[in-house]
């Protein structure tokens, strides 16, 4: 992806939040909608197709997994319901992540309890929206997901000097932004897109304290009063990868009442 198209993506994102007519583009982006309620699935298909996306609907968790089974699937993002016949949405996303499938995923469900939201993010979702939802917001969030993955791809192909390098090494760890990997000694941890975005943001602001709200805005592109604890979940996961003792973090520090701070080379305390 060239820098030009990244620029286009940014401009599209800056468009009004109202659903617009079809965006005439060559090579439409493909979405997988996993939804068992026929009415909702049809309505989503109609709207997303009007937005210029190619839409495929899967009615069960198994069907969704099958859509990814045949090697390289051609989806750019996925909208996933939780209460599905057979395997539920949480199982689907965590199985996909375990299999190394990092497709940007938005969970769209009637379950809005904080426990459910946290479970969704813990399973590997990139975004979470509860039903009933606002059509314009759903479309804006899908655009956001696509935009972000496009940025990641364009950065991977055409790194700009002011952006962080493809790799970042600190202590005995290496983050490979290109391969979405974190190497700690001999271990290689695959990171999800959102995990990597969180980590990238923290690394960009090394030694600074960043608030949860700021991270939500900058990493997720959210401006609403979302439950900011979703972030804590990402931090917990990242600590599990890159801290020797996740209970006593040395790199990803909690700043009480404020947020988090990334320290690349902590001063030895022992």
């Amino acid at each position: 992806m060239s820098r030009d198209s990244a620029h286009n993506a940014a401009r599209r994102g800056a468009e009004s939040q109202r659903p617009s007519g079809a965006v005439a583009r060559a090579g439409r982006r493909a979405l997988l909608v996993v939804e068992d309620e026929r009415h909702l699935a049809d309505g989503l298909r109609f709207n997303l197709e009007a937005e210029g996306y190619q839409v495929q609907v899967a009615e069960t968790g198994e069907e969704a997994l099958e859509a990814f089974a045949g090697g390289a699937p051609s989806f750019d993002a996925m909208v996933l319901d939780v209460m599905l016949p057979g395997k539920d949405g949480f199982t689907v996303i965590s199985e996909l992540r375990q299999a190394g499938q990092f497709i940007p995923t938005l969970i769209l469900t009637a379950r809005g309890h904080p426990d459910d939201v946290l479970k969704g993010f813990a399973a590997g979702a990139d975004d979470y929206l509860t039903k009933p939802f606002d059509l314009a917001i759903l479309i804006a969030r899908i655009r956001g997901l696509l935009r972000r993955s496009e940025w990641v791809r364009s950065e991977a192909k055409a790194p700009l000097p002011q952006r962080p390098k493809d790799r970042f090494t600190f202590a005995d760890k290496t983050v490979d932004f290109n391969l979405l990997e974190l190497r700690v000694k001999d271990h290689v941890f695959p990171l999800t897109l959102m995990e990597m975005n969180v980590l990238r943001y923290l690394i960009q602001h090394e030694s600074e304290t960043v608030s949860r709200k700021k991270m939500l805005e900058q990493v997720w592109g959210l401006h609403e009063d979302t439950d900011t604890r979703a972030i804590d979940n990402f931090i917990v996961r990242l600590r599990r990868y890159l801290e020797d003792d996740p209970a006593r973090p040395r790199h990803l520090l909690t700043v009480r009442g404020l947020g988090y701070r990334f320290v690349a080379n902590p001063v030895k305390t022992d």
Binding site: R18, P19, G21, E37, H39, L40, D42, G43, L44, F46, N47, A50, M83, P85, G86, A110, R111, D115, K119, K131, P132, F133, D134, L135, A136
Partner: protein
């Protein structure tokens, strides 16, 4: 995750009670060994011991039952949340679509139809929940009137055919000898509709449901709803009539529901001096639901 921790706490309470009982027994054996000579004290001790042990057992029993009930209640809230929010989400989606996009006439008509169906579904769930409240309270007495059961059943069958788009051979009705009953029209209709709805919902791909009315003896008339669907394991035949109870297993989990339908059927039967029960040869072999009511003289 929450359910797992509950399971753990049930185990914990049972372990606690077993532990307490063994401590009591141990103390008692020691006490008998010390004072086995004095007869009155021994008798008093046995009495106290029996009271203590039954107290602990009762306590554990109620605690475990309460935890189970709580679990079912949670499952019910989840199911109702889903049943209420899904049609609302759908209606809202279609309204916003119509608001923001140019839609041609054919699509527009289709969207209106979809929204009406969704509002019907919403209404059905709300009515089900409200009816449960009404029937569950001892105060509300049924509004009795003499009605022809055959007519009511026929009406329910006709309505179900339009609602689920079924051909007469998919949902067949065999009327028996006519019988009039003394009953609350609305409640009996709800009970029969629930039985038909279940039969259709649990039929799997191909719906083949038969409804029949027949006089059982001189005093009773029965409505039998028979399907060739998923069937019911023996252990579940009684359980499914309990409030909030939903059949476990992967097949049933695919079918939306609140766990109230059969509870309403059983409550309606009881309020009219009748009975309701289920028969099934086992999973995969269909099932028959019977609603038996007394004939009006």
């Amino acid at each position: 995750m929450v359910v797992v921790s509950r399971r753990k706490s049930v185990g914990l309470f049972i372990a606690l009670s077993v532990g307490l009982i063994s401590v009591i027994l141990l103390l008692y054996v020691g006490w008998v060994l010390l004072s086995w000579r004095t007869g009155v004290l021994l008798f008093l001790g046995i009495l106290l011991l029996a009271m203590l042990i039954s107290g602990v057992i009762l306590n554990t029993f109620f605690l475990v039952r309460e935890i189970r009930r709580n679990e079912q209640h949670d499952a019910f809230i989840n199911a109702v949340t889903h049943e209420l929010k899904t049609p609302i989400a759908s209606i809202r989606l279609y309204l916003q679509t119509l608001q923001t996009r140019p839609v041609d006439d054919a699509k527009r008509a289709e969207f209106y139809r979809t929204m009406v169906e969704d509002s019907d579904r919403l209404l059905a769930t709300v009515e089900q929940v409200l009816r449960t409240g009404r029937i569950g309270s001892a105060k509300g007495k049924p509004n009795l009137a003499r009605i022809d059961l055959g007519e009511v059943v026929e009406e329910c069958v006709t309505r179900a055919r339009t609602l689920y788009h079924l051909a007469p051979e998919a949902l067949a009705y065999t009327p028996g000898a006519g019988a009039s009953i003394l009953a609350d029209m609305d409640e009996v209709q709800a009970a029969i509709s629930n039985l038909i709805e279940n039969a259709v919902k649990y039929s799997g791909g191909q719906v083949r449901v038969t409804v029949e009315t027949a006089t059982v003896d001189e005093e009773h008339v029965a409505v039998r709803v028979h399907d060739h669907g998923t069937g019911i394991p023996k252990t579940e035949l009684k359980q499914i009539f309990k409030r909030f109870h939903r059949a476990p297993g992967p097949v049933a989990a695919r079918i939306p529901g609140t766990g109230l339908g059969l509870y309403i059927v059983r409550s309606v039967a009881k309020r009219h001096g009748g009975r309701a029960w289920a028969e099934s040869e086992g999973p995969g072999r269909g099932s028959t639901f019977v609603l038996q009511l007394p004939i009006a003289r």
